[in-house]
Symmetry: C2
Subunit: 568 residues, 2 copies
């Protein structure tokens, strides 16, 4: 029997659900409404539109075969009716109708449905602080504001920009402004790191250092108090300083857009997302919801989670489309995979960081290593920085995060582990992970496998590690003479440091250590240093065997210290 389907929201989830349903039930009717005039665009492309990598807004709204996904396209190519500039103002669940308002002509309409789909998405969080209504302050919420931002920049009136929030959108926009438009760009972030909750402080400091090298300034642990200006914003006042600016981008996070669902009495989670089951049905079985307005299961914590990603919205859309047509497809949840490109690096991850794992009640540790992304003898290669979060008792892997160059090598490693996370892997699974091997793509013992091995060694306490941050702190206090800094590399690597710091930097190459144990003090803590942490681990085994156990292996070695921008 032909059905009558209404879809609210025509970006990502809505169109995917509609198209899938219509292919399965061509005889049914489907109407998709959206309050905007621009629909079915790739919202994740907005930073690339602002940067100029993507020149026209229409490119984000086109299919891969260059057809504009507008009302006519959906009508002609998909037999889907689209009403733009149309707001859903109320759902009458008893009557099974949606009341709508045309935002242009003010006309009201009533759309009956057999089944309803909510893809109402998210909205930018707002700081309720003085001056928020000044001109020149923009959220990154949709194509309309994106076009406004780009017009303002390309007008040439923006010399300085300030971004509030060091999350994904904030830093992507920071790159767009600084790199391609040459704007003096400052990021203010209320927490003490970039990408809070997504990567460790250690990795965050590396990301920050890389962006600072590319002329982006940061003020962390700093709270924006108000905006000042005469009609247009001219300065931002934080709890520590006043910063002049011509443009403010608000990127302090997003939240589910659930007013319509809430008013209709659908179940909303304490965190604010629409509650759905694995079939993507709301508490009303005739109403489906998905994308940025819902909560789905975090497959690591097995608690509700919020994963506002266009990729997941698309997958959920297809599940809804199938189920609208009588199928029984499920969307299980997510582990929170992400990747972002920033200047010359990519940052990616999946699952929990160590901090989040601890907050969630896991007794967890993390392992961090630095290794070449390809066979070390292959001419083109780069160092990769990778961290694994592991539950101490079980060895269960809870998350992985890392930093590499802008190729797909970094995200490829994360993707190889991300899917596996759903099957509760242990370090052993990571040690034996079967990555395709060829020297132009990986090492025989790939960084992923080495990371699993290192995590296992840390759990077994044969590898006792310290982080680069901690090393720097100890080094800065070297005059206290509490720490013995032992360089385990060959003399060629160690020489410059020994000559610069003869009283503090000791060179004993790892392969000479067992013969020169007498030179190692037993009354100090010992920091073992090499290029990446491999030889220093071997040195630790040698010291342990000699009964000298007060040593710490510098994880990631001097490569990690340098990546933090610290110069010894």
């Amino acid at each position: 029997m032909a059905q009558n389907i209404v879809v609210v929201g025509a970006v990502a989830l809505g169109p995917k659900a509609a198209c899938r349903f219509k292919r399965l039930e061509p005889e049914s009717q489907i109407t998709m409404i959206d309050q905007s005039s621009i629909i079915s665009y790739g919202g994740c492309g907005i930073p690339y539109f602002i940067s100029g990598d993507v020149s026209e807004p229409q490119q984000l709204q086109s299919t891969s075969f260059n057809m504009l996904r507008d009302e006519k396209f959906f009508d002609d190519a998909k037999d889907i009716r689209v009403m733009t500039n149309t707001q859903a103002v109320m759902i009458d669940r008893k009557a099974k109708v949606v009341h709508t308002l045309n935002v242009i002509d003010g006309k009201n309409d009533i759309l009956p449905y057999d089944k309803l789909v909510l893809g109402t998405g998210s909205r930018p969080k707002q700081l309720k602080i003085p001056g928020s209504d000044l001109k020149g302050i923009f959220p990154v919420s949709d194509m309309h504001t994106a076009i406004e931002i780009k017009e303002k920049i390309s007008g040439g009136s923006v010399g300085k920009a300030l971004i509030v929030g060091a999350g994904f959108i904030g830093l992507e926009i920071a790159e767009a402004l600084a790199d391609l438009w040459g704007i003096e760009t400052t990021v203010v972030e209320i927490t003490n790191q970039v990408f809070p909750r997504f990567i460790s402080k250690n990795l965050a400091h590396m990301v920050q250092h890389h962006m600072e090298e590319n002329e982006v300034s940061f003020h962390l642990s700093e709270k924006v108090l108000r905006f000042e200006g005469d009609e247009t914003v001219q300065s931002v006042v934080t709890d520590k300083r006043t910063i002049e600016t011509d443009l403010v981008i608000m990127a302090v996070g997003i939240e589910p857009n659930t007013g319509l669902a809430r008013d209709a009495g659908l179940k909303i989670s304490p965190r604010g997302g629409i509650v759905v089951n694995k079939q993507m049905q709301t508490s009303d079985p005739y109403i489906y919801a998905g994308g940025d307005c819902v909560e789905i299961e975090n497959l690591i914590t097995e608690k509700p989670g919020y994963f506002p990603l266009g990729s997941l919205a698309n997958r959920q859309g297809r599940v809804i489309g199938t189920n609208l047509a009588g199928g029984n497809e499920q969307f299980d949840g997510a582990v929170g995979s992400f990747v972002v490109k920033l200047f010359e690096i990519s940052v990616a991850g999946a699952g929990l960081t160590l901090d989040v794992a601890l907050q969630e009640g896991f007794d967890a540790i993390s392992a961090f290593i630095v290794q070449f992304d390809r066979a070390h003898f292959y001419p083109e290669k780069d160092l990769m920085y990778l961290e694994l979060v592991v539950e101490r008792e079980t060895g269960r892997v809870l998350g992985i995060q890392g930093l590499g160059n802008t190729g797909e090598g970094m995200v490829g490693r994360i993707n190889a582990v991300a899917e596996l996370l759903k099957h509760k892997p242990t370090t052993r699974d990571i040690s034996n992970l079967e990555l395709a091997y060829s020297p132009p793509f990986s090492s025989a013992m790939d960084i992923i496998n080495a990371l699993g091995n290192t995590a296992e060694n840390i759990l077994e306490e044969t590898n006792r590690v310290m982080e680069a941050d901690e090393f720097i702190a100890w080094w800065l206090e070297r005059e206290k003479d509490e720490t013995f800094f032992l360089d385990c590399r060959g003399w060629g690597n160690a020489e410059e440091y020994v000559e610069k710091y003869p009283d503090h930097w000791k060179s004993i190459p790892q392969d000479e250590l067992s013969e020169r144990l007498g030179e190692v003090p037993v009354d100090k803590r010992i920091v073992l240093i090499c290029n990446t942490g491999v030889r220093s681990y071997e040195a630790q085994v040698t010291l342990d065997q000699a009964g000298i156990r007060n040593s710490y292996n510098l994880q990631g070695g001097m490569a990690a210290v340098k990546k933090l921008g610290f110069d010894i």
Copy 2:
């Protein structure tokens, strides 16, 4: 209690097992013997040494921190004794000793062991045909022959080269010779495709076409009968022709090197590999074996499989090292992940091809799609070609293979699925695979997800497909007038074909099809054509709805046809 360990074979597995064991039990003794003078090198780097990408053989034998992994290195840095040029001639399992022969001075020795490790590797298969002993015919078996080959090439006497075998080593060497040395290179292969059993014929033809564009010649389905020449090889006689050559590379496969194990009475599989359990123990619990000389479980077929890969050897080596020290580590098996770079493309896969799946008794189908590797609006992107092999009844995914550019995008997709294959995923898991998304790395609906969706549609018979090869065959018989070739793209794409073939090429853009059904004949089979197979699938849904069901969707569209090198 300190143990005495002997390891036979000092490449990949042996050194890894020895180092791991020694770190866990520093007080024990370990002796590693190898018949060669060059040990612990990266054998997979040989093609890059021959090409010149890697200039010195020592680079393949060095650590990532540029220390040569020779006898002295293992002694000083690892406290492992190494005997090079030393052959293991006999294992006396009762006495628990290995009889050795020094191949330089002819001296015999006897090494007692508590536990023994066999890492005897593989040897090249040989064709027992006349002329095989002529000079200028080389296997790619070890560093010594690699050095000989490179010396001969760099001497300038090689204008033409012939490679027997179109497997991984054969084609990697073909690239090395043709690309970097400018040698006129011909590959002769006995089967009817390159990479037999590793990729489909469709993908194989694409690979072959790409190599032909790069000046490598192929003779497939052709058997080498003999080599001719006066001391040095001058020509190769096949069952179809005689080919002049200055150099022959034999790359017809490898087989486990198991003479020592066989003579010792250890269990050998019918296929010829040493039989080991998941702890990597042979039929003698005091003898471990791993790497290219053993069989391990194929985790797709759950039968014994042969996976001679340096990467797996390293992982198995670590498992053996742990178990030698009293651990209980396991190596479960492999799905056979691979990747290879050839000129401007990479080819990768995991699990079974359709042909192999059918041979193994699975009732299977395959889905093939072409899609951009990144968001289609992102400026830098490439088409990717990907095939999924699925069991018909259950939707279980049995394998995945594909072709992309030389970045890590292709291998990253394969790796994301490879590990999952061990958990018996279905198309639904592939449709919902959680890949990290950002426009510079992937699409919101990534090619992997689209591939899962397509496979599902094929299984449900809503998408009835044909391959590009088949399309070409039908097109070449177009004068028979049995087929209606319907171009579903916009007029801009279709115009040139319609003008060239007005009697055979019909243009109805997909978004006009429902209005122009009268132009579609009902008495012919219909081929639906677009750029990549997306719009043609939509067109098929439209035709189906109109009751016209005799249509075939060209998988991968014109992009697949072009990749095969076919010009319409």
